[in-house]
Symmetry: C2
Subunit: 157 residues, 2 copies
């Protein structure tokens, strides 16, 4: 079968994401945060006070998707959207004190999952895998993908 779904890069990626997501979610469960939420808070902390767009780009998310996803986090007081005084259109995302405290709580939990991941999968191997995955999210890859065989497709974007 040339169209064997078991060779579909997208399907395999999704399956791995489901499993790993489950494992990280389970590890973070005691904190009440999902792995995705923890990732967002940690990324905001690292970036300072990014705008919606900046955070969306960094996380490879759709701007509107991010808008939805942030709702539970702002509702629970971990993040706040502050209007930028320079540009009335911009909202800067800031980590609240409650958010920082929560991140302090999750540090050990996340670290535990991360360490177990590397212990089981292998440190070097994990680094290599993340490197490959990061390449997939690079604009070079996206552009090359969209250009390849473009003649036979309708040009988008």
């Amino acid at each position: 079968m040339t169209n064997d779904p078991s060779t579909c890069s997208n399907a395999v990626l999704r399956q791995a994401m489901r499993r790993i997501g489950q494992l990280y979610d389970e590890a973070l469960a005691p904190s009440g945060l999902r792995a995705t939420q923890h990732g967002l808070l940690a990324t905001v902390r690292k970036m300072g006070s990014p705008t919606m767009r900046e955070l969306a780009e960094r996380t490879v998310m759709d701007l509107s998707g991010l808008s939805h996803t942030l709702k539970p986090l702002t509702r629970d007081g971990y993040l706040e959207l502050v209007p930028d005084p320079r540009d009335g259109r911009v909202r800067r995302i800031t980590l609240t004190e409650k958010g920082e405290i929560k991140l302090g709580e999750t540090a050990k939990l996340w670290r535990g999952a991360q360490d177990r991941f590397e212990a089981v999968f292998g440190k070097e191997r994990a680094v290599a895998l993340r490197s490959e995955l990061r390449f997939l999210t690079s604009p070079e890859f996206q552009d090359a993908f969209n250009d390849t065989g473009a003649e036979t497709r309708t040009v988008t974007r």
Copy 2:
């Protein structure tokens, strides 16, 4: 920063999934199917008439999640849930004729995305990546992950 979110295996996996999902979705758009839906239909065809549980395991999905995800596909007539005469609890998922026709339609589209993926990423490299991702979904990995450092955590499952 030891807790740099850019090194989170889960986060990086999710980001890659979003991007690749977007690319495959775009490629399949003319058919009206999402990449996930196409994957499900193709998997059902390959498996014959799997039960919910069998399909859930194969796709690394939660049984209830699968139940939800199948709704649009049964609603649109691509799949049908047939009660198993042997066991009243079981529902066998069958691809309808409409589903087969649709899969015929998507064959070229999916193939195009898959080929472009391998052309850009590299055939060998793609095979290797999928192999690594498949390992992450294996029960061996899951068990090892859950056992590692289990002493310090509440035993689950």
